[in-house]
Amino acid sequence: MAEPTRRKSEDIPVLDIENLAVAYKVRGGEVEAVQNITLDIKKGESHGIVGESGCGKSTCAWAIINFLGANGYVKRGSIKFQGKNLVGKKGEELRRLRGDQIAMVYQDPMQSLNPSMLLGDQLKEVLTVHQGMSNSQAEKDCIRMLEKVQMPDAANVMRRFPHQISGGQQQRVVIAMALLNNPALLLMDEPTTALDVTVEAAVLDLIADLRKEFNTAIMYITHDLGVVARVSTKVGVMYAGEMVERATVEELFKSPQHPYTQGLMRCVPKLGTDRSSSILYPIPGRVPPPDGRPAGCVFWPRCDYVRKRCREERPKLRSIAGTETWVRCHFSEDIDMGSWEPPEDLVVPGTVPKKEVDETILEVKGLKKYYRVRGNSLKDVFGMGEKQYVKAVEHASFKVPRGKTLGIVGESGCGKSTLVKTIIGLEHATDGEARFLGFDITNSISARDRKLIQELQMVFQNPDSTMNPSYTVGQQIARPLKRFNVMPKEKITDEVLRLLRSMRLGEKYYDRLPRQLSGGEKQRVGIARALASHPDLILCDEPVSALDVSVQAAIINLLLEIQEEFGTTLIFISHDLSVTRFFSEYVCVMYLGQIMELGPAEEIYAPPYHPYTEALLSAVPIPDPTAKQKRVRLQGVVPSAIAPPSGCRLNTRCPRREMLPDPDICLTDPPWREVHPGHHIYCHIPLDELRKIDPVVSIKEVNHAG
């Protein structure tokens, strides 16, 4: 969806940053969080800043509005806003700029709205304070702006508190607030990261529309290459506090110059690629901390092309002749991305398809999970109200063959986590059947046989909470070995070390505490812990979604490797359709507790789609500005799971409902339409109709790495 860059060379840049360095005072000295940043943004331009966590993206934004906290300051360089230097600006002058000329949108809308103030008041004060506008006039303007950001029922929202509207709506309010004074510069710091993919897509659409309408200069910070490809005209890539490459979005994705940028591109699975057709290559090593950056080029310890000069001399950001690309590399002209070879010590899983086995290891039929909730009425307080349930999972049925991977995708609240919890026994099923290795597993874990428990293990999402901070890596991996008596006590240490090695973690990790590990390392330990009891089935609950892309690739590779080696069956939950596609043989799409579509991965990602699958695919940000994506959007918000819509639960938001002659039919349970054996769509719309729909995504070029 990227716009072609509209150049208005006569304009001076709205924002012009030169050689910026921001430092924080810490105990015993100071740390330069950001160094040598140079960029300019012109009117109507959207400048993306992309990079992994901790590389100083946000610091740049904070430096612009001089909000660096008590211990941060601009150490070098200049920040010019409409030609005037901002550095060192203080007090009243700065305050007048903030919110008026320069506005900002942040990552977490819930956190950034005042929980105890009416949204209307929070909006209005931007106008009344900066423009001295009357309250009633401000009210009108605010409502108009809310309508512009496509806020339903705008007048009403003014009289609500933040917790009373949904996350996507909150973000719209924040954006509206930022736009109220028609700022010259809009700083957006991961504005969609906390949102679901379909909501994200809608917000990104909105940003693009607004940019066109208001001609605002936007600085867009994100870690997501897909997002940056969609919203930016120009992109700056940051690594370890430095800007390593800056180019137009097309150039950047077409021919990335810096080895780091190239590495990033190789890490991300493209939508539509799978493990049989492509390999993800992680960047070895990790991002250095601000006070531990190497001399010379900051990237050299992880660079495949490192030479002597790289270690000694810090490269300058220089322009590549004949392009608009700037790169911070001594040798970028010498590097040809196409001829890149993976380093020899990098182990990547084979891409050979495995032999087919027909044994079904897990079979779920009509599984239901309801949670009892307390109502809010007076009756409920005394337990006399009607019993209410959250219908978290409704009639889930699927089979998982041994040694295969089932991917479950869906947005937050779709019941995928509950489904997994029910299978593993953290919850007992309300109704339905579930058999694992032929044993009934609808009961909860305490009622299961220890042998059965041992065969079902789980890998968790959040690397920071997957490990108990109080115990060493060794202790935590050893625990399941002891618990399940996998082996004699004296052999446990050896086994733990063996597992560590197979996780590509050295033996030196045995005595480390979790806080000494990076996110990826923690995730590896989590996998080792799950593997320790030699389970037949591992449930992976978004194991890579909290990781940076370079690490993500490594973990995905590790899981694939394990599967290959042990023939372990995997259930893989993810909200990321690209990763799921890459990883899984079978995919199951869930919405509001219902399975909408189920089938082999490649068929899910191609027509005929379930309307929901279609919407999801159209929302996925693709790290390729040339990719064409249809714009199919869901309307409204996700209904409450306590009183879900009857029939097809998507019926309130379905973009294809008009395709039916009688849309009311959607209020009844749809049939399971079988596309092929093993591929089912849960929809009233006949398959033939669905088949007529074009593919959502069309990618012109084959990816370099692919």
Binding site: G99, Y106, S116, V129
Partner: protein, 432 residues
């Protein structure tokens, strides 16, 4: 919100019940045989048994609890020939139990084996007349009568079988004849405002307690009104100046004040202002029951003492909350929106910063009452705290039970108010 409130109220009632049970058990069971405490270790078992019977302590614990909580007149009534009434002694404000015999307030006693009616006269005293006709024939041809004696007990006299009872007098136990066979010490129960007799004062606890509660409510109330705005002010002031000299001064002063016990502060305030400078009354002198209204300056030093300790604590809480709020994302939003500093503080920060401390402040009323005990002892203030203290020292169980229940009630009610205030401040709860 209604749900929240109803839950609070229900939980409050349950809490009060739990407290009353715990308190009763702790005092009446935990303290062992009360008669040992009163009669001393050298009393004979016979004396003890007789005395326990007079106090109704021979009944099972659950029944004593119920008697204590909801009274026993309602079941004692059923045994009586004549209806029970209560009359107020105008002189002592005590409630007296009598039986209503055709409009004549009457009690009974046995004298040399003969049953006598004690008829209440106009002046509050009584006249004895024979009452042989009152005897009722029982099952085993025994004549008995359930009446009221002059110690507010429902008693069962048995004809010709006056019991030997041990009566406690100031000079020790004395044996008396003509005693009743059974005692039910009549009481209305705590929830109807009858907390039993105080052994220390030999008067109904409720009569002694009432003015004390009033006095303490005044003291604690004034202290609260003084402390809270100041504490919030200083807390907020320190919170928005985190790390600056002003913050350091406020923080260190409040820590110092909090860590200095009330009794030290109080003593030295008395020395300085009451004795050396002679600008304020050194102690609270209740030369009449309404002395504090006549001379409110007496309250200054006690309130100041309470303030010194409480102020620091609440200020520290508020400061912490303010610091947290000022560090939050929505304050950042407000600043980045270009809001003037004071607008950020007043419109955006304070309300959120008060949410956390408000419940704690209300819980802190507990502390205030704790401080009140010490302050009242130091300043000779005849309030609830000193009453509890005296009762605890004396071992006056009815008094300490009632007084402790009152403090708990105050604490719980303020907590309820705190919950309410929180609800009003926090829209997330209000519109939940």
């Amino acid at each position: 919100m209604i749900r929240f409130l109803v839950r609070s109220v229900v939980s409050t009632i349950v809490t009060i019940l739990l407290v009353s049970i715990g308190l009763f058990l702790l005092i009446e069971v935990g303290s062992g045989d009360i008669s040992v405490k009163i009669l001393g270790v050298f009393a004979t078992p016979e004396q003890r048994a007789s005395y326990r019977a007079q106090l109704g302590l021979d009944a099972p614990v659950w029944q004593r609890y119920l008697d204590w909580l909801i009274g026993n007149d309602w079941w004692a009534k059923s045994r009586m020939t004549y209806p029970l009434i209560t009359l107020k002694n105008t002189k002592t404000k005590e409630t007296e139990w009598w039986a209503d015999v055709g409009g004549q307030a009457t009690r009974w006693k046995m004298e040399k084996g003969e049953l006598k009616r004690l008829l209440r006269q106009e002046d509050g005293f009584s006249k004895a007349v024979p009452a042989v006709s009152d005897w009722i024939k029982g099952e085993n041809s025994e004549y008995f009568f359930w009446g009221v004696d002059n110690r507010n007990n429902a008693v069962k006299f048995v004809k010709g079988a006056g019991e030997e009872v041990w009566v406690l007098t100031k000079a020790g136990l004395r044996k008396q004849g003509d005693g009743p066979r059974k005692y039910i010490p009549l009481r209305k129960g705590l929830i109807r405002g009858d907390a039993g007799m105080s052994w220390q004062y030999n008067r109904p606890v409720s009569v002694v307690l009432k003015p004390r509660i009033r006095n303490t409510l005044i003291l604690a109330g004034v202290a609260f009104v003084v402390v809270m705005p100041l504490a919030l002010f200083f807390g907020i002031l320190a919170g928005i100046n985190e790390g600056k000299p002003l913050d350091r001064i406020v923080s260190i002063t409040s820590l110092g004040a909090t860590a200095t016990p009330e009794f030290v502060t109080g003593i030295f305030l008395i020395m300085i202002f009451g004795i050396w400078l002679k600008v304020l009354p050194a102690v609270t002198l209740f030369t009449s029951s309404d002395a504090i209204f006549k001379n409110p300056t007496m309250l200054i030093l006690p309130v100041l003492t309470l303030t010194a300790v409480e102020l620091g604590y609440v200020a520290r809480m508020t400061r912490a909350s303010m610091v947290e709020v000022m560090d939050s994302a929505y304050i950042r939003t407000a600043i980045v929106k270009g809001m003037p500093y004071w607008r950020v503080v007043f419109r955006h920060a304070i309300r959120n910063a008060l949410m956390a401390p408000i419940t704690i402040i209300m819980l802190h009323v507990n502390w205030l009452i704790g401080g009140v005990v010490v302050v009242e002892v130091i300043f000779g203030y005849p309030g609830l705290g000193k009453f509890i203290f005296d009762s605890a020292i004396f071992g006056d169980f009815s008094a300490i039970e009632a007084a402790a229940m009152v403090t708990v009630l105050i604490a719980i009610i303020t907590r309820l108010i705190g919950d309410l205030a929180y609800t009003l401040l926090n829209p997330r709860v209000r519109y939940a």
